[in-house]
């Protein structure tokens, strides 16, 4: 967990990280990488705040379903393929007992994509004001670029 002791570089340890993410489901690996990193930061007692916009608002669409893998691939891949949202849900719940993660979905981007009313529990539909506060309150900001 978090310590007030300086880190190896002699700096004050990071307490809060803001991540800005615009990549959605099934586009690129970025969401998975972000969640892998978020999990590691939470394990270290660092609070993680994610601002999801553009296609990233689809990551927390609660209506996404697991899809079955083709029968020939099941021995290798397993029975089904879970959506990334499942991982987000686990990290949000992990915050109940450790460092917390907040996940804010941009309201305009969600409305444009018809997913505003389909956000999973724990994901907050918010505005650019939330992004402003995330960035202003963060010791470290990580902006994941959008590219196709």
């Amino acid at each position: 967990m978090h310590s007030d002791e300086p880190g190896p570089s002699g700096r004050r340890r990071v307490r809060r990280v803001a991540i800005v993410l615009s990549t959605g489901s099934y586009q690129r690996e970025a969401p998975t990488t972000v969640l892998r990193l978020a999990e590691k930061l939470l394990e270290r007692g660092i609070e993680v705040n994610v601002w999801a916009f553009e296609e990233a608002v689809t990551l927390t669409n609660q209506d996404q379903m697991e899809h079955n893998e083709p029968p020939s691939l099941r021995p290798v891949l397993g029975e089904s393929h879970a959506p990334v949202g499942r991982f987000i849900d686990q990290l949000l719940r992990a915050g109940l007992h450790g460092a917390k993660m907040d996940w804010v979905t941009c309201i305009l981007c969600a409305q444009e994509r018809g997913v505003e009313k389909h956000q999973m529990g724990g994901a907050i539909v918010g505005t650019l004001g939330d992004l402003w506060k995330f960035v202003g309150g963060a010791d470290q900001v990580i902006a994941i670029p959008a590219y196709r």
Binding site: R11, R13, A30, T33, E43, R44, I46, I142
Partner: protein, 108 residues
């Protein structure tokens, strides 16, 4: 001078901008910054031993840049041997470094 993290998630040959990344990092290092280059996702493709895009890594490492490649991304792409100057790493290591603080993080 600053402590900087550059995360490369793209294959350096996939976009024209990728060619600018090693010279940019070299210049930052020359200016006295402490630079870490972390390769993840398709960024590790250049770290495969013999890859043309990674030929600059050895020299870059010689200037003091710490070049790390995500082990999961390497395994997913069947990369077993890394280019000279690149060290195998993981997201635990990256999280430790972020916890210690950077002046700036550039995610490419």
């Amino acid at each position: 001078m600053g402590r900087l993290l550059v995360v490369d998630s793209r294959d350096l040959t996939e976009y024209a901008g990728g060619r600018s990344l090693p010279p940019l990092i070299e210049e930052l290092c020359r200016q006295g910054h402490d630079v870490t280059l972390f390769l993840v996702e398709n960024g590790v493709i250049a770290a495969r031993r013999g890859a043309a895009a990674g030929l600059s890594f050895d020299a870059l490492s010689g200037t003091g840049v710490h070049i790390l490649a995500d082990e999961v991304a390497c395994r997913a792409r069947g990369i077993r041997e890394l280019a000279p100057g690149v060290c195998l790493s993981d997201l635990d290591h990256l999280a430790d470094k972020i916890a210690d603080g950077f002046d700036n993080i550039l995610w490419y």
